[in-house]
Amino acid sequence: MADWESALDHLARTRHRALIRYAYLLCGAVREAEDLVQDALVKIYARKHLPAADDAEAYVRRAILTIYLDGYRRRRRWSGIKHLVGIKDHQESPELATSTQVDVAVALDGLSPRQRACVVLRYFEDLTVPQIATTLDCAEGTVKRHLSDAHARLATVLGPLHTPDEPGPAAPAATPSPMKTFQPPARSDNATPRSQS
């Protein structure tokens, strides 16, 4: 067995579950998580210069994240709240064991890919905001915005979140913004009153 084959075999056998867990949280589906991990392994071990054994997992995790984000940039996922459909999908999925897990899965599906990546990196991988910014090659403020937006969206499904030590942006003002009210168009002299139409 060649060196690269031994290296891939060793990494995949010893870290398979850890990589799948990470990929699964990113994409939300078992089969897709397996594809992500496999594509990442192929990407890293296809290179002429293999990473050092101690660094290999970090390279593969980085590739999982990149493939996930690049894939969604091209496939154009629907962002926004689709929980009415999402609930149906996840309730029929044999993968999820509890209703809480269904709620979490549905909540994650409501995030954009970058918001979801930030949440996974922050609360599952336990990276700091600066580390996430480096991983995603973006500014720390951008990461904070993603986390803040993700919190708001997750909270609409899961309720208030308990996330100690969250270095998010400043708390919103206590006074809620006034509700927007849309008025009908101004009525001209020739307009017919509604009750007579």
């Binding site: 949280l25 154009r76 709240i81 897990q101 509700m179």
Partner: protein
């Protein structure tokens, strides 16, 4: 009790991981893919190439793909130092359109190479507009220090036919996103995101099927110091542009509802109980297949009540043919459109966290996005993966869908006097046809226009 997110993610990850097969299958498949890939790479030296250029040659045809920049016409040439004696300074690969092969820039960097690597992706993402390319540019750093692709420039391919340049990398843009200066460590390699645009008046035209000679081009920083740049040139490689086939459009699926792929639209517009309507005056009559078009859509309160509630979904507009949703929903708005972030669709004023009130006959307008790509039910309504995705040319209906949660209704008399507010818990689903559109084909570079 507040939701403990960390614990929930861990539980969810454990459940997901518990469903996967043992690693043996993944290992075997990965090794097979890598073995096949390594068999196709045969390092060789071609007469005339520079000493630092590595040429890849293999058996069988290679396919060529493009990564599209949606707003090429808005591209601004970045103030990159003049590396190759271009008049007026600045590096603009578009100036090579129509130039002979001998005029292409030569590599100035040493111990850095640009490779063209091929792999057959099993779950390849879709390319909305152009030919499919099976391959990547790979920067290999044989120096003793880290190097990176220059921020503000795009690495890319030159394509030549009969010794003349017919397609080039996209021109560099100021504040180019994405590339940054992704550093490649000493002894390391990095996949390079690349661009390729056909020459001619229409940079979004297709490249005609056939065989081409390809060169890779990139500008790299850090060879000597951070202020200087070096050119990398890889190739020549033989590549083959395939013919784009129309995708198979989705068929009716009774288990899904619009705007999802395969949904059957109602015979007449459905507007819940008639409280809300969606309409537009801005839908263009024609558009090019694969395009993302935007227009204003208005939501109108057609009930006699003042309605207070929240948006539950964005307004989705999709292409429909023969009563079936065959077009994909938009998901992300390219940053070049300016108004929206790359990651999401701004629902304002239809923000699901923000309550809005609409008096009778009131309207509010939002920008909606129609993507003229075919959807694939297997991809959950997004564009077809692994194959060309553009909608076939022809006529389509455009349908809009929207869900609104009504929380309060207040009857309003003809003279405008409000009655007593009544609490409500109504989910109003609007599914309505907003117009028709004729989808035009993408022109092919180099093909003569046919006479009708």
């Amino acid at each position: 009790m507040n939701h403990e997110l960390r614990r929930s993610l861990t539980d969810l990850a454990d459940t997901g991981a518990g469903q996967v097969a043992p690693p043996e299958t993944m290992i075997r498949t990965s090794l097979d893919r890598l073995t096949a890939r390594r068999r196709r790479r045969r390092p060789a030296v071609v007469a005339g190439a520079t000493a630092a250029a590595v040429v890849l040659a293999g058996s069988g045809a290679w396919a060529v793909q493009r990564l599209v920049e949606d707003r090429v016409e808005d591209a601004v040439v970045a103030n990159v130092p003049d590396l190759i004696g271009m008049p007026g300074g600045g590096f603009n690969p578009r100036a090579y359109c129509g130039a002979p092969e001998s005029s292409l820039p030569e590599q100035t960097a040493t111990d850095l190479t640009l490779d063209h690597v091929t792999e057959i992706p099993e779950t390849s993402p879709s390319d909305p507009n152009h030919s499919r390319f099976l391959g990547d540019l790979l920067l290999e750093n044989g120096t003793s220090t880290a190097h990176g692709i220059v921020r503000g420039t795009y690495p890319g391919y030159f394509l030549l036919e009969a010794g003349v340049v017919v397609a080039t990398p996209a021109p560099p843009t100021a504040n180019a996103p994405g590339f940054g200066l992704e550093s490649t460590p000493a002894g390391g390699s990095t996949d390079v995101r690349w661009t390729l645009l056909p020459c001619g008046d229409d940079p979004r035209a297709d490249i005609a099927p056939g065989e081409y000679t390809a060169y890779g081009l990139a500008a790299v920083q850090g060879v000597k110091d951070k202020e200087s740049y070096e050119i990398l040139v890889g190739g020549p490689w033989l590549v083959d542009v395939p013919t784009i086939e129309d995708p198979v459009l989705a068929t009716a699926d009774p288990d899904v509802a619009a705007p999802w792929c395969g949904a059957v639209v109602p015979d007449a517009a459905r507007t819940g109980d008639g409280s809300l309507a969606i309409s537009t005056d801005d839908l263009p009559e024609t558009a090019r297949t694969g395009d993302l078009i935007s227009f204003g859509a208005s939501l109108t309160n057609t009930s006699p009540d003042q309605l207070v509630g929240t948006a539950q979904t964005p307004v989705s507009v999709v292409a429909v043919r023969d009563g079936v949703v065959v077009g994909t929903q938009h998901g992300q708005i390219p940053s070049t459109l300016g108004t929206y972030s790359l990651d999401g669709f701004d629902l304002r004023p239809w923000d699901p966290t923000e309550s809005v009130s609409m008096l009778p006959s009131a309207s509010t307008t939002t920008e909606v996005y129609l993507w003229l790509e075919a959807c694939d039910p297997a991809e959950d309504g997004s564009s077809v993966s692994g194959s060309p995705t553009r909608l076939p040319a022809g006529d389509y209906e455009v349908w809009a869908t929207y869900d609104h949660q009504i929380n309060t209704r207040t009857p309003v008399a003809a003279d405008g006097t409000p009655g007593e507010a009544v609490a409500a818990d109504e989910l109003v689903s609007v599914v309505t046809r907003v117009g028709d559109i004729t989808v035009e084909p993408v022109p092919v570079l180099g093909e003569d226009d046919a006479e009708d």
